[in-house]
Symmetry: D2
Subunit: 294 residues, 4 copies
């Protein structure tokens, strides 16, 4: 008999991931702050909880996949918060992107409830979430994580154990910083090439034939070609992640000169009102800094 | 009967590329400033020219694959320079990395000789050069370039036509800027992860499983793991290419904020004396900027 | 009769400022976490409080001048904390550098005590503190601040009213960002000039004769000349202030591209162990990034 | 009897400087590519030369004060160029901002004419040029420069000998990099303060009262306050100077991380079409990167 799952957060990622849990025959209870977003999961067989506490009472494993610290805190510690129903027989897994510092503080805050806390962010955005090909990055008690492998593999294709609790968040920042570097890098070189008279077609042909090709470029380059940026991974979320990276780097005294430039550029995108577009809209920032077209 | 090729520049790239021309049964004459480097090609069947002019007299197609503008100018216009033997029946192909501006100036300088000038840099470094899997980026007269396709495919796996002469150099800078972004990006995130307590093994497992994976990372990440940087693409050459990128961007008023940070970091590597190591030695710069190990 | 002052924080700044209050005939009670640092003030006539609460009980106006949020929180809310003795008849003035966000949170936390809270950081470091020539940057209730002008002028030469509580901290970040820009700028240009063969003497003669001359350069340039950096304003404190600037800029979506580069460079200085030297030791970072001397 | 001066370049700087030579009773012949700009000097008593060669024939000391290398080359080596009339009895002084590399190349090019070549750029812009309070930065033969001191002091208030020819240009870049740092720094902090709710009045009051005050801020801050940027030192010229700085730093392997960020930002200003405004228009770039006003 599969464990009863409570899944909170029905955004792009959470709805796809909980959908895959349903497909894998897990009994799933869902909750979302704005109820409408949970409807499609209910149609697929999920139970709708009235509030986080109700969800936690009804579940053995509680998962959060939301936009950040504030949302997690509200779900756990707000009115009828999930933490009220936590106890030593339950497992709580945060899969949202947060900083290692927040994760360690969260672990400290949860200690009194007795719940087993696992920090398990994911590498991958919309498409891998839908296809169940995420890379899952758990940290916390190694034996419990080993037992949860079937659950993780219902949502992803691979599980990488990252260490003590907080290190999953660290790994997530490691990978999202690289997402930022490569996304901005692509936008910067394509904008440079265009201003230098290269055709988009020739640039992409060269890019895809060489050693720099990557699945991410395959997915994002067409956005740059069409100059359309439908949100698979919203720019505002990566901006937030880059801020976590810089806060963590500050504490570690880790040099991150390119990460700093990236945060500046993504913030320019935020300031221009492009936060809800895809991260590939960083291409719009490049244009904003370029000569106006005649 | 295949065209007679004169190949100047027997460095990492040139010796591999001219070797592949020999394998493809082209008659090849070679020249290198320091004669020893040409010996291995002679053993494989190449003729050794006494000087660039002699090489050009003996060839229908003259190719240069050297370190930059100074070397090209010396080969063409120095004592017994190749340009003295150029005429309307010959083709000159520069495959070295240079700026578009230099290429256009070179085209102007060669006009009087009547030679057909083609600008054809390559994407790919040591291994693709040896395996004949380079991407060739020619620009210049389209019909001539079409006729040269068999020659290019003896050295590479793909030919991307880039436009008027100079645009091959532009494409090369487009691609090498991306090389710089991804190489520094990898070094920056790995250094960040290490300082944050992640294991190299877990970082690479995560990287290789996700959408950011690329052939380049497969090749370069092991260098970072071993902390050994044998030169496939010397750091000093990419530094020079980044300078060409910035000079070109300045003329185009193209915003290249990350490229500027990259040049700064690669110059720090040069200043520390790491120019002859591989571009992956940018990881040493990251360590140089990090807390000293206890 | 002058108001009874309680002054907490006997570092470089606090000991000089409270010394000036004594000179101006204010009755001053002092407290410092490590007692020895308070001794010299006691010799000058200050009363030593056993703990922050005792200091607050014995004072009408309580001032903190410490290294940041953690120290302030410990003094106010720790065991025998000052806040226990706060009430509507007392005034609390924080003169330490903190972020506007922290100041606003502090104001909210103090509201229940009824204390009048004024946020009054200062522009100027060791020498102006000793000479009583600081610029005082108060924010909070305008009428109360007007009444406190004699007190402020016992420590400084000028008072600039900055607005609602928190805006003093904002002004402090405004000015300290400029300190960072000019200090790094001086170090960067001097290092550049030296590598380019200019003599220090000629550089400073040119600098001091031109429109860029400033009192700060007069004070800091000799450090660069002697390559000695005795702490007037420790590098670690400006590093912390720059982090506050970047956190605030992030919330405001304010572009601070140079501030980001500065934080990176000052963090390199921290990583190398130069945090206790003066901010002018940023010159050592420039050398660390430069070619090694032959 | 004072030496006969030939002055080429009647821009903002050149017309003010040659005007001061006239005031000091030097006989002055002038030339400018567009003749109209020379008219006002002729009204003040200057002789108008028909072309650079004519000017040089008629002068003992020939001065250039133009926009850069291209303009200098055209005046010296173009049709009826000044260099045709150079000989061992004449002195040529370039006071324009150029790179040390260009200056050394120029010295080599002029050697055959026998002319004494002095490189003497200036620190100061419009107002000091008009008031004769420039700082003159000569390099070249020390004895000749000593003899020219009265001439230099007719245009400036101070002469700083910089070393061998080329070092004057190096000093000019040293000082103009600091101009760039301080100008961008002022714009960045003022924009940050505004977004954070500070009044312009309070910011400037704080700035002018503190250790960061400088004559330059006194002159430029009012532009930021009025948001009007009449050209005293055109943005396009400082952009060019920053490019010289970066080219020189590249050759020296000198770390100039902030200079790179500056060039990026000034280039954004160029791309937006603000090159003819004052350098203080970098404030417009800051706004361009900021949230749009509601």
């Amino acid at each position: 008999m599969k464990q009863k799952i409570g899944f909170m957060g029905m955004g792009i990622m959470g709805s796809a991931m909980s959908g895959n849990l349903l497909k894998a025959a897990y009994p799933v209870t869902v909750y979302n702050r704005s109820r409408e977003k949970a409807e499609s999961l209910v149609k697929k067989g999920a139970i709708l909880a009235p509030h986080p506490k109700g969800l936690a009472e009804n579940s053995e494993i509680i998962i959060t996949m939301v936009t950040g610290p504030e949302a997690i805190n509200a779900l756990l510690w707000g009115t009828d918060g999930a933490a009220e129903a936590f106890n030593a027989s339950k497992i709580f897994i945060n899969m949202s992107s947060v900083s290692p510092l927040f994760t360690r503080e969260l672990a400290a805050g949860l200690a009194a409830t007795g719940v087993t806390f696992i920090d398990a962010p994911v590498s991958g955005t919309k498409q891998p979430a839908e296809q169940g090909t995420l890379v899952i990055l758990p940290s916390g008690p190694k034996d419990k994580i080993a037992e949860l492998e079937p659950l993780f593999l219902a949502m992803g294709k691979k599980v990488v154990y990252c260490g003590d609790v907080g290190q999953g968040s660290m790994m997530k920042m490691f990978i999202n910083l690289l997402v930022g570097v490569m996304m901005e890098g692509l936008a910067e070189v394509v904008n440079f090439g265009r201003l230098g008279g290269l055709s988009m077609e020739a640039m992409l042909e060269t890019l895809f034939a060489g050693a720099m090709n990557s699945p991410m470029f395959q997915v994002k380059a067409p956005n740059l070609e069409k100059q359309e940026y439908p949100a698979a991974f919203p720019l505002k979320h990566l901006t937030k992640d880059l801020k976590f990276v810089l806060d963590t780097a500050y504490d570690l005294k880790a040099p991150v000169p390119v990460a700093q430039t990236l945060l500046h550029l993504f913030e320019v995108g935020m300031a221009q009102g492009w936060g809800d577009e895809d991260i590939s809209a960083i291409a719009r920032v490049m244009e904003h800094l370029s000569p106006k077209k005649a």
